[in-house]
Symmetry: C2
């Protein structure tokens, strides 16, 4: 079952610059920041009272986030919905003929995650996340 908007992912040229807006002007508390080497990004999660804003700065021009930054200059990148069973969501999407980026859930910053293909969603990159048990 989809539980809520878990986070909205935003691609930025510089994590530090964009924290000046999201943390200091919007006053969203910073939860954590981390370098995720295997995805080639630096990421920060900010608390929006039940949902999160995820800022993503690419470490390379050569991954999906880097190409998005080069193409668009940055901006809204994806929307992530929390589910209590990501594997089942993926199976249901596949059964409906929805194109997938991930064929099975994989570990990400938000828990076990997977992405649907934007061609399935009229250009919107959709992620599912099932947070790790605390």
């Amino acid at each position: 079952m989809l539980k809520r908007i878990h986070h909205v992912g935003i691609v930025v040229p510089s994590l530090e610059d964009s924290l000046r807006f999201w943390r200091d002007v919007m006053r969203l508390p910073l939860i954590k920041s981390a370098t995720i080497d295997d995805q080639g990004v630096r990421a920060a999660l900010l608390d929006a009272n039940g949902s999160e804003v995820e800022l993503l700065e690419p470490l390379s021009a050569d991954n999906g986030v880097g190409r998005f930054l080069a193409r668009s200059g940055g901006g809204l990148h994806h929307i992530c919905f929390e589910s209590d069973d990501v594997a089942r969501e993926l199976e249901a999407a596949r059964a409906k003929g929805i194109a997938l980026i991930d064929q099975r859930p994989r570990p990400g910053l938000a828990g076990m995650i997977c992405f649907l293909h934007p061609q399935a969603t009229h250009g919107v990159l959709v992620e599912y996340a099932q947070p790790f048990a605390e």
Copy 2:
């Protein structure tokens, strides 16, 4: 005070086509749909358990939503935060030198709303909304 992500706005070429994904595949219940003549859009709000997904189909190529569709083919358009005092958020943003689209709150689908200018936010269109009292 910012309370939560109120909604994420998505621009689509066809409300009907995109409902087939958001309502029928993602199973987000449709709350309401409406034609908003003075904004030149048809809009649908779907329930994501505490937040909403707002689909926007432009009625004209000649407004902001229509130009976004022509430029991008559609996709994630804006993120809206609920506040209990939109006028005060606007004043605080102005005091910090943040560029504004709306100089004062105005009535919108989600209540009294206003938009910050994307140049202030590294390309992300940010809306505040203060829902009308029930």
